[in-house]
């Protein structure tokens, strides 16, 4: 399967999904003009990838800011990963954020509440 790569713009994150090793990276800001359209190919890639990939999948997110449309799409991403996990897939998410930004930490915690796979909040300064 092909990798998925999208370049970062001011309002959309960089995407580097590696189909050979299962490491998926999302980094940048996310407030696209149309979040539904922006995340559509991302969701479809994850759905196709999780359907056949047997190894561990690690999603690394370093998103400084998400608008509400992107938050909803990110929840869709986590729902796909949750389905895969429920069917025996090996999933972990590492969410990187700034410890000094209570709001960024809260956003991460609210995602964490809604999933049962390993979801780790990492503080950027600790890296």
């Amino acid at each position: 399967m092909e990798n998925l790569t999208l370049q970062e713009t001011r309002s959309t994150p960089a995407i580097h999904f590696d189909a050979t090793n299962g490491i998926l990276e999302i980094s940048g800001e996310s407030y696209p003009e149309n979040s539904y359209e922006f995340y559509k190919p991302i969701l479809s890639w994850i759905a196709r990838f999780t359907a056949h990939y047997k190894g561990p999948i690690v999603l690394n997110c370093t998103i400084h800011y998400l608008n509400t449309g992107s938050t909803k799409s990110m929840m869709d991403v986590f729902d796909l990963l949750e389905d895969h996990y429920q069917q025996g897939g090996d999933i972990s998410v590492q969410w990187h954020c700034d410890r000094d930004n209570d709001r960024a930490v809260e956003t991460a915690e609210e995602f964490m509440e809604d999933v049962t796979f390993t979801f780790t909040i990492k503080h950027l300064a600790d890296m």
Binding site: E33, Y36, E37, G69, K72, M75
Partner: protein
């Protein structure tokens, strides 16, 4: 000539405590540019990172809403370009930052919107979070934002969202929405 003298306009803007404003045809590129200007401006003040992010995110939700209504106007074949324009202001009042947006909308769109806002003003933080999570799980139609914007703005505001509706003609009203952080 009166219209060449922008001093009066500037006075009105200053008296209202507006720091940054844009009025005209919104585009995604304009939203990004103003967003950067706001971030730079706020970084010069001593604010927490969380507060700065809240002001930025309320601005984004407000501006993207204005864009959404303008698109709707265009799709409905509205040729009066003024109706496709909006206004967004970021100001300061009694130590609070205030982010306001104004746009035209169809009169039939007003009651559902004001009903939603009236319901939101009676909810506390926990209730807003529960509603947010419920909305997060709802299916959305292609092209729609997801219906979280007003709930999210309410969660980030220190006071309930305030709105004003002004009738323009028999079909359209002008809607103003202010969030105080």
């Amino acid at each position: 000539m009166e219209q060449n003298d922008l001093y009066n306009l500037r006075q009105i803007v200053n008296e209202r405590g507006v720091l940054i404003s844009f009025a005209g045809p919104f585009s995604h590129g304009i939203i990004e540019e103003i967003g950067q200007a706001i971030t730079r401006y706020l970084e010069s003040e001593t604010l927490t990172k969380a507060y700065l992010m809240d002001v930025f995110s309320v601005y984004i939700e407000q501006a993207q809403n204005v864009c959404k209504y303008a698109d709707k106007m265009m799709k409905e074949g509205n040729t009066d370009c003024d109706f496709n324009h909006g206004i967004v202001t970021i100001g300061k009042n009694d130590g609070h930052h205030v982010v306001c947006a104004g746009n035209f909308l169809r009169k039939s769109d007003v009651p559902p919107l004001t009903a939603k806002l009236d319901a939101l003003r009676n909810l506390d933080g926990e209730e807003l979070k529960a509603l947010y999570k419920q909305q997060l799980r709802k299916e959305r139609k292609p092209g729609e934002g997801g219906g979280l914007g007003l709930i999210d703005m309410s969660r980030k505001s220190a006071l309930p969202l305030e709105y004003k509706v002004r009738s323009i003609n028999k079909s359209y009203s002008f809607f103003s929405l202010c969030a105080t952080l």
